[in-house]
């Protein structure tokens, strides 16, 4: 497998007569044809198996031990069960609670990785079909020489064409299958081995994401590592509702490109609004700047309930599974486009376009499965244009009078509130509406996740979510924001400029806001955090739903985060890399710092690079509204690189944290690469996976988690200045643990010298040395004889 760069070839000959010999049933298999031109020597771990990087995982898991938070006391995965695993009880198969919890985490990570890899395979197959295997990879017209840092690091290959990416996905599919097999009854029994495999799944997920985004950037003309990628419109208020409106939802942009292409070809771009939710929305704006983003996943129900979309086109991942019911309710046409998400609809792929459109227009057909993106484009546009005039006359949301009448049925049983993930005061708001006061419902809109669980809980069958959206209708019209179009990769030249300042700590850190929209208090918190860290000269990255949330807020001067801050990977930049799969570029940037700035060998050299990133690159991932299994896999990819991840309070439902113990000195020793001695490096970063209770706690923790053993005193002082300042402002007082993070007096921020020194003296602080840190004995420098 070491030098795979082309798909395998299999030749079978039934019978062959020649002068030399007579062959019968000859089968020749060539695993791969290598056209290797990359001169960098192969590292020790190309295409790692499930256990190749187990020693590295064990190093991390010794520092960051799992703290399990079982979401259920039972195991119900086989017919022995249900088995009660409470405390020290074991299941019928012998499994313990820690192993069961880590097994569930692995299942979640496998689901996430499989989803990205499958998505990647679909995108790659599509672009290869249209542009050919020899279509060159191009993620940056200039300034991107390390085109695929994750692929180079994990697989040890340097892809040049779309075809070169196929063996990477072959490997991913192989590994995900093995990983899923691990979760079968009677396989792995040790929780730490499950955890190691969770990290492996995360790494595979990162590969899958990188391949997907490289393929679509290269073939579909997305912005190529462009810091000045244009601004796209964002928010429900940006939609011209007089025009026919198409809504695309999901993650695979292919059907949406079919719509854009059809509009362009037929000179209809100005006549139809293409709007999107979730990552398809981000990617369709990378394809066409005229497309509009409605918002993150939590906007699905409210936007559909608003009645604005005439046609809804769904692809894959994070699409509400009741979309057909919802679209039928507003009499919009639904087109499903993915084999992974058919919703019970008839496959009309091979039917004539006009027949399908006619069915939609007559209202006889609520939806259809169409597995041809070009055809989707034509049908969606024709249908939207045909049904829009009729639909514009209908009102989907309840009028104020109807709303009040519906609310009068409320008995204050509180079941709506008890179904609400954020425990919002839903019943009180409905009761107030019954008296004509809609302001409480309007307020709920800001914090509502849009899950709709309040409705089936209601014994009086009140359409609670519709009431919320109707009460906030004026507010939705004012949702007029913007987002920087997903730029893709970070340029090598940008890495060269910031690599030193990051590793030395002069740029206090890289903070990446990623993931879904299961926020405890709405989108606004993400925007506020992004702007605060950008203001403090951190490099801020965004992706996916969080990238949208970051743009859905205006500061005191009326500017959104993307208007206020540059899109460059620089101190004070807010860098939207793109959709979920573009997360790979954030990991890629950390990897490129090790490779380009520090000149560490990249090829098939995972452990060394991860050791470098963990000890020297002050990066932190923040998935404030992480909800999905994909988010679990994305986080796991960052963990294996040693990058900590902070989640919101709902994140404890992922069933375990990876927490360091700052009070256990023995956990924080590193090798000093210069001397080979084991020295105290301090509890940095303190945790690998941490759930914060509030935005304020998260911000303080983010500042703390950017510290690394390698920080220079100047860098540490910069990081401490932010940590202390945020702590004082958001929590109150000087951080009680600051003595753990000051290594020498030179680490203390100048403006805080007296105050911090006083604290240190009161807490018996001792000075310690700043190491050249590594967790790998083989990285200790040996003297040349």
């Amino acid at each position: 497998m070491n030098h795979l760069s082309r798909k395998g070839v299999n030749v079978q000959i039934k019978e062959l007569h020649s002068d030399l010999a007579h062959f019968r049933d000859l089968s020749i298999t060539i695993g791969a044809i290598s056209r290797e031109k990359w001169e960098e020597p192969m590292g020790p771990t190309p295409f790692p198996s499930l256990t190749t990087l187990r020693p590295w995982d064990q190093i991390l898991l010794r520092k960051y031990k799992p703290f399990y938070l079982p979401f259920c006391d039972l195991c119900c995965l086989c017919t022995y069960g249900k088995c009660d695993l409470t405390g020290t009880k074991r299941g019928a198969c012998g499994i313990s609670m820690p192993s069961q919890q880590s097994r569930m985490v692995l299942i979640a990570a496998c689901i996430g990785a499989a989803t990205h890899v499958s998505h990647s395979r679909d995108i790659l197959s599509h672009v290869i079909e249209y542009y050919g295997r020899d279509c060159p990879i191009n993620v940056g017209d200039t300034g991107v020489e390390v085109e695929a840092p994750v692929v180079r690091l994990v697989c040890g290959i340097k892809p040049e064409t779309l075809g070169d990416l196929e063996p990477v996905l072959d490997y991913c599919e192989n590994q995900v299958t093995h990983l899923l097999a691990v979760t079968h009854t009677g396989q792995e029994g040790n929780n730490l081995d499950f955890e190691s495999k969770v990290l492996h799944a995360g790494m595979i997920d990162q590969l899958g994401m990188e391949v997907a985004d490289i393929a679509q950037i290269s073939a579909l003309g997305f912005p190529k590592a462009d810091p000045e990628a244009g601004l796209a419109e964002l928010g429900m208020g940006t939609v011209d509702i007089k025009k026919p409106v198409i809504l695309v939802i999901g993650h695979n942009v292919t059907p949406a490109t079919g719509i854009i292409d059809y509009l362009k070809t037929n000179d209809l771009t100005s006549d139809v609004e293409v709007t999107g939710i979730c990552c398809t929305a981000i990617d369709v704006t990378r394809y066409s700047p005229k497309a509009k983003i409605i918002g993150p996943i939590s906007w699905q129900l409210r936007y559909i309930r608003s009645g604005v979309p005439d046609v809804i086109v769904i692809d894959e991942q994070c699409v509400r599974t009741d979309t057909l019911t919802e679209s039928a309710h507003i009499r919009a046409a639904l087109i499903a486009t993915s084999e992974k998400n058919c919703l019970g609809l008839p496959d009309r792929t091979n039917d004539p376009v006009d027949d399908i459109v006619a069915g939609f227009v007559s209202g006889e057909v609520p939806g259809a499965l169409i597995l041809d993106p070009e055809k989707v484009g034509e049908i969606a546009v024709k249908t939207a244009r045909a049904i829009a005039p009729r639909r514009k006359k209908q009102k989907s949301l309840p009028s104020r009078e109807t709303l009040v009448e519906m609310a009068k049925k409320c008995t204050l049983c509180m079941l709506c509130r008890r179904a609400c993930p954020n425990d919002l005061p839903v019943a009180q708001a409905v009761k107030a509406a019954a008296g004509g006061n809609l302001s409480l419902l309007d307020e709920l809109y800001d914090d509502c996740l849009g899950c709709g669980r309040c409705e089936p809980a209601c014994t009086q069958k009140i359409a609670v979510h519709s009431l919320i959206v109707a009460a906030a209708e004026q507010k939705t019209l004012k949702e007029t924001y913007c987002i920087r179009t997903g730029r893709g990769a970070i340029r090598d030249v940008e890495i060269r400029k910031v690599g030193g300042p990051i590793v030395l700590g002069e740029i206090p850190g890289v903070v990446a806001f990623v993931g879904c929209a299961n926020y405890p208090k709405g989108s606004r918190e993400v925007a506020e955090m992004c702007m605060e860290f950008a203001k403090r000269r951190y490099i801020v990255c965004t992706s996916g739903c969080s990238a949208m949330s970051a743009g859905m807020y205006r500061d005191e001067e009326g500017k959104t985060a993307y208007e206020r801050y540059s899109g460059s990977f620089e101190a004070g930049g807010i860098v939207n890399v793109g959709s979920c799969v573009a997360n790979a570029h954030i990991a890629g940037a950390a990897i490129k710092i090790a490779s380009i700035f520090a000149k560490r060998p990249l090829r098939g050299n995972y452990e060394e690079i991860a050791d470098y990133v963990h000890n020297r690159v002050g990066a932190v991932g923040v998935a404030w509204g992480a909800m999905s299994q994909k988010a679990a896999a994305i986080a796991a990819g960052f963990w294996r690189l040693g990058i900590p991840v902070v989640v919101g309070p709902h994140g404890t439902k992922y069933r375990r944290m990876l927490l360091g113990r700052a009070d256990k000195e023995s956990d924080w020793y590193v090798y000093d690469a210069r001397s080979g001695e084991k020295v105290y490096g301090g509890p940095v970063p303190e945790h690998l996976f941490f759930a914060a209770e509030t935005k304020e706690e998260a911000m303080v923790m983010i500042a703390k988690l950017t510290m690394r053993p390698n920080d220079t005193s100047r860098g540490r002082a910069n990081k401490l200045a932010n940590y202390v300042d945020l702590h004082k402002r958001l929590v109150g007082g000087i951080p009680p643990d600051i003595s753990l993070y000051v290594r020498t007096p030179a680490d203390i921020p100048l403006t805080m010298k007296d105050e911090v020194l006083n604290h240190l003296h009161r807490h018996g602080w001792k000075e310690h040395t700043i190491p050249d840190p590594t967790l790998l004995p083989r990285m200790i420098h040996t003297r040349k004889e």
């Binding site: 006391d73 409470t86 008890r418 927490l659 923790m701």
Partner: protein
């Protein structure tokens, strides 16, 4: 009465015993050798009849001579009332330490045998109490929230804010001076 506040949060066979009157909570606190209280940010917003419930908790901690861990930005409220908590620490961090039988507590003596939780977001407290139920056999847990937490050892049933305040006041009164 022992239904989870969030209706779908059903854990399994082992569920919290109900505290049906303040005397029970008071007795549990008195019986504990090393109790500790963990107070989340959610407590700050509540007041009944013009009195903040956080004041009630401070009284309780003082009377029971119980160390208090404050999470998130709760510490500012305690400081404003002249009460110094034993520690400012995140909820997952203190819970993780409570699962370690070797941990000597904030005073370096020994670990705690009763952890009282109040004021964390419901689902976060639910999962944290689950972690302690399974992995901290030496630590009993009690919640003083007004919602039933099935993963605690003891919990009040779902109740109104007014009843909640009365329960807290009752516990404080029972503890005497």
């Amino acid at each position: 009465m022992n239904e989870s506040w969030q209706t779908a949060e059903i854990p399994g066979p082992k569920k919290a015993s109900l505290i049906i009157k303040p005397d029970i909570a008071d007795a549990i606190i008195r019986r504990a050798k090393r109790p500790i209280m963990i107070v989340g940010h959610g407590i700050i917003e509540y007041e009944v009849e013009g009195k903040k419930l956080i004041d009630c908790l401070i009284q309780l901690a003082r009377k029971a001579k119980m160390p208090v861990v404050v999470t998130a930005s709760t510490s500012r409220e305690f400081a404003a009332r002249g009460f110094e908590p034993a520690a400012l620490m995140s909820a997952v961090d203190i819970a993780n330490r409570l699962t370690d039988p070797e941990w000597k507590g904030f005073d370096g003596r020994e670990t705690y045998d009763l952890a009282i939780f109040v004021g964390l977001p419901y689902s976060m407290e639910w999962t944290i109490l689950s972690g302690l139920k399974h992995f901290a056999p030496g630590v009993k847990t009690m919640t003083l929230d007004c919602v039933y937490q099935p993963n605690a050892s003891w919990s009040f049933p779902n109740s109104t804010i007014k009843d909640w305040a009365a329960n807290l006041k009752g516990i404080v009164a029972n503890l005497g001076d």
